[in-house]
């Protein structure tokens, strides 16, 4: 009697398992793609490509004029920069600035000018550049600025063009990035590629890598690994 009841219990369990199994298979047959998309890491990407890095600099300085009233008058100014300038500026690079010029009785106005970098040296704060004024667009009635006049450096340094420019946040552990490729099944996959950073600005970096310039993974909803399928948001 007990044996018969046990058999009935086993049959009941088997039926429940069979129904559950078939229901799961039926559900997954139609919704596996939807469920899979939900479980896959969702990534945001940024397009990669060639270009140059730009470094905008806005700082103030004081004009130093030497050789006044001679033929060898020279106007220079110095400015500090915390960023590594190696990739952006070298001796001879031209920068834009504005100098405060006296236009009349107690009246002043900023005049645009260009200067050439003549020296770069490391300082306690980073780098100190010395620039020599090459051109100052004074207007009629303006007095020639003298030493101590305020100079506003307002320029954008630019590197040469690089093959791969990526956002710095896409570089993981300063050594690799995830590129997004499309597989034969027309779905997105990530591949891990080692990179070497050549130059960097505040947000972007120029890198060297052994791959074509494809979209880079910026952020991911969960951890990703090489070769994994992902869903690209946006």
């Amino acid at each position: 009697m007990v044996k018969s009841e046990n058999k009935q219990i086993i049959k009941s369990i088997v039926i429940k398992v069979a129904v559950a199994f078939l229901a799961i298979v039926a559900l997954l047959t139609y919704f596996s793609g939807t469920i899979d998309n939900y479980l896959l890491p969702h990534v945001t990407i940024v397009p990669g490509g060639e270009g140059s890095l730009k470094y905008p600099l806005k700082t103030s300085s004081k004009l130093e004029v030497t050789g006044e009233n001679t033929d060898e008058v020279k106007a220079t100014f110095r400015f500090n920069c915390s960023h590594d300038l190696d990739a952006f500026v070298s001796v001879g690079s031209m920068i834009d600035f504005k100098a405060l010029a006296e236009t009349g009785e107690s009246r002043f106005a900023y005049r645009d000018g260009t200067a050439a970098v003549t020296a770069i040296k490391e300082s306690a704060d980073g780098f100190e550049c010395t620039a020599e004024v090459r051109d100052l667009q004074l207007q009629s009635g303006d007095k020639m600025p003298a030493s101590g006049v305020e100079v506003i450096v307002d320029t954008v340094f630019e590197t040469p063009r690089y093959k791969h420019i990526v956002m710095k946040s896409a570089i993981k552990d300063d050594s690799y990035v995830y590129l997004v490729t499309r597989g034969k099944d027309n779905k997105h996959y990530v591949s891990k590629v080692e990179v070497t950073v050549i130059a960097e600005s505040d947000f972007y970096a120029a890198v060297e890598m052994d791959a074509d310039s494809l979209p880079f993974v910026m952020t991911s909803s969960k951890a990703i690994r090489d070769g994994q399928r992902v869903i690209v948001d946006g």
């Binding site: 058999k7 049959k11 088997v14 298979v25 047959t29 596996s32 899979d36 479980l39």
Partner: protein, 274 residues
């Protein structure tokens, strides 16, 4: 003491044989919990070395099941192809066999034994002999490349009739005569008197037919050319060649329906006697 040793030796021998038979299933089950990468690593063969035998995964993972269930929608469609072929075959063959076996055993009509003899001949003939006539017939009927080309020939076989006839022979004629005297119709005698006594035989037929149809390979290759219509039994070999990283999980899933069917009918199957 000596008797105990003999019994222990018998159990040990039986245990070894059982393990030997269960080993492929245990092996498949254990390997289904490996990652695809681990399978690729462990079962890479070259001309000089055979693939090793690995039972315990380095790291327990459900990746293969995840891949099979969620990343291979085609695999699940093939599962339903198998179901679509197997369930009708089992249903039709069981119904036909029950009625035919009852007629050959308990009904009296002219040339009954001669007809059954012809049935027996059909059973003796290897399936390859009837393959070409079947193919031509199916082609004439325009059923090639459809599931009917698999379902129809497999639904009407002599095996089920012969099997159930053997079971029904052991149903006493006296009980049938008694039912007739009580006014029971032939159909009622079949369903109320005979079938309850041959449940084991019907269960055996269902299990054996299901397994036979579930594992169908040759007919599929001959009658079906569209791979979308292939059942899992044929598609699994392709998975083994092209997608070996998930083959063990696919094998476990493939094994599951026949296993459940056996567990459901295990009592009748074990108690069945001819």
């Amino acid at each position: 003491m000596k008797k105990r040793v003999v019994i222990a030796a018998k159990y040990a021998a039986l245990g070894c044989i059982t393990l030997l038979f269960l080993l492929p299933i245990i092996y498949m089950l254990a390997n289904s919990f490996m990652t695809s990468a681990e399978i690729a690593e462990k079962y890479t063969t070259n001309s000089e070395h055979y693939a090793g035998f690995h039972l315990i995964p380095d790291r327990f993972s459900l990746e293969q099941y995840y891949q099979a269930f969620l990343r291979r929608p085609q695999f699940l469609k093939l599962f339903w192809n198998s179901m679509l072929i197997t369930v009708p075959i089992v249903a039709v063959q069981t119904i036909v066999s029950v009625f035919a076996a009852f007629a050959f055993t308990k009904l009296r009509f002219p040339l009954r034994d001669a007809l059954f003899f012809i049935f027996i001949i059909l059973l003796i003939l290897p399936s390859w002999v009837t393959l070409m006539p079947n193919y031509m017939m199916i082609q004439r009927m325009g059923l090639l490349d459809t599931v009917w080309s698999l379902i129809l020939p497999s639904s009407f076989t002599a095996f089920g009739v012969c099997l159930l006839r053997q079971y029904m022979r052991y149903v006493p004629d006296e009980t049938i005569e008694a039912a007739k005297i009580d006014g029971a119709s032939t159909v009622k005698i079949l369903f109320k008197i005979v079938l309850p006594q041959v449940k084991g035989g019907v269960a055996s037929l269902i299990i054996l037919t299901f397994i036979d149809s579930w594992n169908m390979v040759e007919q599929v290759i001959i009658y079906i050319s569209d791979k979308e219509k292939y059942p899992l039994s044929v598609a699994l070999s392709e998975y083994a060649a092209t997608d070996s990283g998930i083959i063990f999980a696919c094998g476990v899933i493939f094994m599951f329906p026949p296993l459940l069917l056996y567990l459901y009918h295990s009592r009748e199957f074990k108690n069945a006697r001819m």
